[in-house]
């Protein structure tokens, strides 16, 4: 660990990597909270994987792959959202199909791109150590867009996540906000691809928020805690991977996964202990009224 801290002062690329992790964590904390409470992890997975289509196309036509990823993520978010709204009965089949089709398109484009061969692994599994400085600005811009949108429409997103039918009755344009939420998920996916790659994105999108959900019971609280956990996971994973020279992406995910499992066990134990203590408590305050009625009839003299 101390070796990592020394390296941090020596190497600019490590500081960039740390900053990239921090910027990605804001997205994963804020939007990951919605993914967890609205239970759209599968949709988010579909969006993440079909992004490869856009990255491949961008590479083939000579654009910035990250720009291609952003466009592909937004398009696939709208398609997946449209599919869910129009054919909700076959949602899982259709999302699964888009998931695979997007990847297939991407791999064909990459295969036909002249001179290309090495970067596929870093798209799939990310490489936080190779994030270029200028991408940090793009990531910061995307974070700002995410946080501003959520802050402006916090009530609407909360209502649409909690109870779509009631939100519709209160005049909230539910379809619009649902699709907007999926677009925010798409933007977050692009943020996280830099760090852990598109296959592992889904873990960072769900695990920090899920751990936060074990302990706090408000959406805003979950967002803050999940962001802090995300920073902990990315920085911690980066530090752990440095000395044994492991790939950073999988190390980050394994750290997040381990913390999630430990937290699930711990919060399960805490809940059970609280329930046991409640059961052992003497008669609660509301009960004496019943006791008063039963009292005279109870112990027969």
């Amino acid at each position: 660990m101390s070796e990592f801290i020394t390296a941090l002062t020596d190497h600019a690329f490590l500081r960039t990597a740390l900053l990239a992790g921090l910027l990605a964590s804001i997205g994963c904390g804020v939007i990951g909270t919605y993914v967890v409470v609205k239970r759209i992890a599968f949709l988010a997975g579909g969006i993440a994987h079909s992004v490869l289509g856009g990255m491949g196309a961008a590479l083939y036509f000579g654009f910035d792959p990250l720009l291609g990823a952003l466009i592909a993520a937004l398009v696939s978010a709208l398609i997946i959202g449209g599919v869910r709204l129009a054919w909700s009965a076959q949602e899982d089949t259709l999302v699964g199909a888009l998931w695979a089709i997007g990847m297939a398109v991407g791999i064909l484009f990459i295969a036909k791109t002249p001179g290309y061969s090495t970067d596929l692994m870093s798209y799939l599994f990310g490489n936080i150590l190779l994030v270029p400085q200028r991408d940090l600005w793009l990531m910061a811009g995307l974070d700002l867009a995410l946080v501003l949108t959520v802050a402006l429409f916090y009530r609407q997103f909360l209502a649409v996540s909690f109870d779509e039918e009631f939100a519709r009755l209160r005049g909230v344009p539910v379809t619009f906000f649902y699709l907007l939420l999926l677009c925010l998920v798409a933007v977050t996916v692009v943020l996280l691809i830099q760090v852990v790659g598109l296959i592992l994105v889904i873990a960072l999108l769900t695990l920090p928020a899920a751990v936060a959900g074990h302990y706090v019971h408000s959406l805003g609280g979950m967002m803050v805690i999940a962001t802090l956990l995300g920073i902990g996971f990315t920085s911690g994973g980066l530090a752990l991977s440095y000395t044994p020279d492991l790939p950073a992406g999988p190390t980050i995910i394994l750290l997040a996964g381990a913390v999630y499992v430990a937290s699930a066990v711990l919060s399960g134990l805490l809940t059970r202990r609280r329930a046991r203590r409640l059961a052992q408590r003497p008669v609660p305050a509301a009960m004496p009224a019943v006791g008063g009625i039963l009292g005279p009839a109870g112990p027969n003299p």
Binding site: L152, F162, D163, E165, V172, G221
Partner: protein
């Protein structure tokens, strides 16, 4: 010349008088005409006519799958009529939506959602005032008033998943009331709670009826007939009756089976 001059104002006076008269109690707040709706090949509602006047407390009863919830969804504008038409407060349902307070039969949200009772009730304020940013202090005042009205003020900081069935119904009622509705629509508000609490909730509705028109769906005709002013019986088609007319013959026609009528006074 002069008689026509005299007549004209008196005519318009009587016209405006009759309009004013119909504008108060007798004007329908909900008018359903020849409504038909089916899911696929399965007709759920056929030729339904229903007029609800301002200030009514109407109980909508009928067997399961008799179309009660579907009729509510049509009145709320969540579904569109396939034949016939619906007017709510003189407008199409979608436009009148925000004047309606709705209490669903089953909570349509996950019980483990990380949200407090106060936050849930605040959602009833959506659609009032500015759409941007966070709630205003006036919204929080309205939420406290609505929770106090349903006698659930102490529940405000609780997490929604920790409430009992009766407490949850009160909170959902507060969420409907806080939007300042003119009509309250409830779908089986007491389906999942015990009978003592059921009575409390209907007492509460009877009090609210002093200022609101109320439409309540129930499968329990015997129970609600003690509270509501009029009962409408729905089994694909609609038969309207006053409270007194609920008898064995009607129950038989409605449920196609003998139902033991339970006599009870309130």
């Amino acid at each position: 010349m002069s008689p026509t001059l005299h007549q004209a104002p008196s005519q318009s006076l009587s016209q405006s008088l009759s309009q004013a008269g119909s504008g108060s109690l007798s004007q329908p707040v909900i008018a359903v005409e020849n409504l038909g709706f089916s899911y696929g090949d399965n007709p759920v509602l056929v030729g339904v006519d229903l007029v609800i006047a301002a200030g009514e407390f109407l109980g909508l009863v009928g067997p399961n799958a008799g179309g009660k919830s579907t009729l509510l969804k049509l009145i709320l504008g969540l579904l569109a009529p396939q034949t016939g038409r619906i007017r709510v407060l003189g407008r199409p349902p979608r436009e009148a939506r925000r004047q309606l307070g709705y209490v669903p039969q089953y909570p349509t949200f996950p019980r483990d959602f990380p949200i407090s009772v106060e936050q849930v009730v605040l959602m009833g304020r959506l659609g009032l005032g500015s759409q941007l940013g966070w709630y205003r202090p006036a919204d929080r005042v309205a939420v406290r008033a609505a929770l106090a009205e349903v006698e659930a003020l102490d529940l405000a900081p609780r997490r929604i998943g920790t409430l009992s069935g009766g407490q949850l119904q009160r909170v959902l009622l507060a969420r409907a009331l806080v939007g300042e509705p003119r009509i309250l629509i409830l779908d089986e508000p007491t389906a999942n709670i015990d009978q003592r609490v059921e009575g409390d909730i209907f007492e509460l509705l009877a009090r609210l009826n002093a200022r609101l028109t109320i439409l309540v769906v129930s499968h329990d005709i015997a129970f609600i007939s003690g509270y509501v002013k009029r009962v409408a019986c729905l089994n694909r088609t609609l038969i309207c009756h006053r409270t007194e007319a609920v008898d064995g013959d009607l129950l038989h026609r409605l449920y196609h089976a003998d139902v033991r009528a339970v006599a009870h006074g309130h």
